[in-house]
Symmetry: C2
Subunit: 234 residues, 2 copies
């Protein structure tokens, strides 16, 4: 990376999708300025200008040019600093297509199902939602076997796109386990994925940037309390 | 492409997202077998086996390996037949990130807004929805100016990812114009995008694979009639 490079990341400390950008930057040993956004207060002018369509974090700003959407940012980082650190996308087009397919599955199907099951007040809807989440985990366990080819990560020997994508949500799962004593990812049902999760969270590159589980659990707890208090007043 | 290559596309003739795969294969001069699926009847064993997660078209099967999801397929085609025809993704990482960002915008935000506005029975919801669709078109007009850099297509001199992504929906827009006499993309509001649309649909590579507007209009009309008749019976 040349002297003149300017890299800035707009994020919030607790966001799983911001964590994706942080992990990718760490894997590629990219130095950057981090700007914490206050999404509950007022968003910065820089954020509004850099991501006028969604006004969301993360935004990566590289030499004044913004890149939005977390998986898009991870691919951008991989392509831009392609000679530094391990490749985040596999080299073969079919493996790349699989990594992109399963990452989209996590973002478009599995995590939305989890969020819907978590927030619903109906016990029936929650039970049905959690069934879908569990079915998704079984599909992801199969995907792990197909992508990892017997190695440690979805990306093979090293952390790849799909590890970053699914791995970024592990903090949320662990925080909910602490808070609600409900286990979502279990050794019994998806043993391979369970072991992968521990391996991912113990990785040196990940440990450096992952927020503390206790702090995230406290944050989620307070957020849910305030949401409930708003709901009961309305 | 070697003699031993086997390329198969599972699709339906009227599907805009299947059209994406067809355009990409044409741009790269790839010979393939096309299999028409009957989504209203029973899906083929091959489709269910190749796309067990979504059971949807398009699916590209290359040497027995399936690739699912239309934009994923287009990227796969670009990467696999990278020395044949024009590059579908731009070469610079930032331009690639922009093409991916706006393609995701079309699929996740703009087209769903259009579909919601089209199917709703409430006049209020329709008016509000069409406002969102028009605002999206203004954003896409800006995106065209940023991506095309004064050239003919989002992809510059040649058709790229974003041309294929948004262009695939033009048949649907034209068919609705015929059917309902409502214009969605107009010269008055988004002149640059309007001219791009005509240029895209007149392109030789596109014309070869695009379904007939009249046939699509008839299909949509019949589909809506049968949906209404089902709704009135229930």
């Amino acid at each position: 990376m040349g002297e003149e490079e300017e890299v800035k990341l707009l994020g919030t400390w607790y966001s799983p999708v911001v964590l994706r950008a942080k992990i990718a930057l760490r894997l590629k040993s990219v130095d950057y300025d981090y700007v914490e956004e206050d999404l509950f207060g007022s968003k910065s002018e820089l954020l509004l200008k850099s991501n006028p369509v969604y006004k969301k974090v993360p935004v990566l700003i590289h030499n004044s040019k913004p890149v939005c959407e977390s998986l898009n940012i991870v691919e951008y980082i991989d392509e831009t600093w392609n000679s530094s650190g391990p490749a985040i996308l596999p080299s073969h087009p079919h493996d790349r297509a699989l990594a992109r397919f399963w990452s989209a599955f996590v973002d478009d199907k599995w995590f939305p199902a989890l969020m819907a099951a978590v927030v619903t007040k109906s016990e029936d809807a929650k039970a049905k939602g959690m069934e879908e989440v569990e079915e998704g985990l079984l599909q992801l366990e199969d995907a792990f076997n197909a992508l990892s080819k017997g190695k440690s990560f979805f990306g093979g020997e090293t952390i790849g796109l799909m590890d970053i994508c699914l791995g970024s949500f592990l903090v949320f799962l662990k925080a909910r386990e602490k808070l609600k004593k409900e286990k979502i990812l279990t050794e019994l049902k998806t043993p391979t994925l369970y072991r992968w999760a521990n391996r991912f969270l113990s990785d040196e590159m990940v440990k450096i940037v992952v927020p503390e589980i206790d702090k995230v659990a406290k944050f989620i707890g307070e957020f849910e309390d305030s949401a409930q208090s708003v709901a009961s007043k309305s």
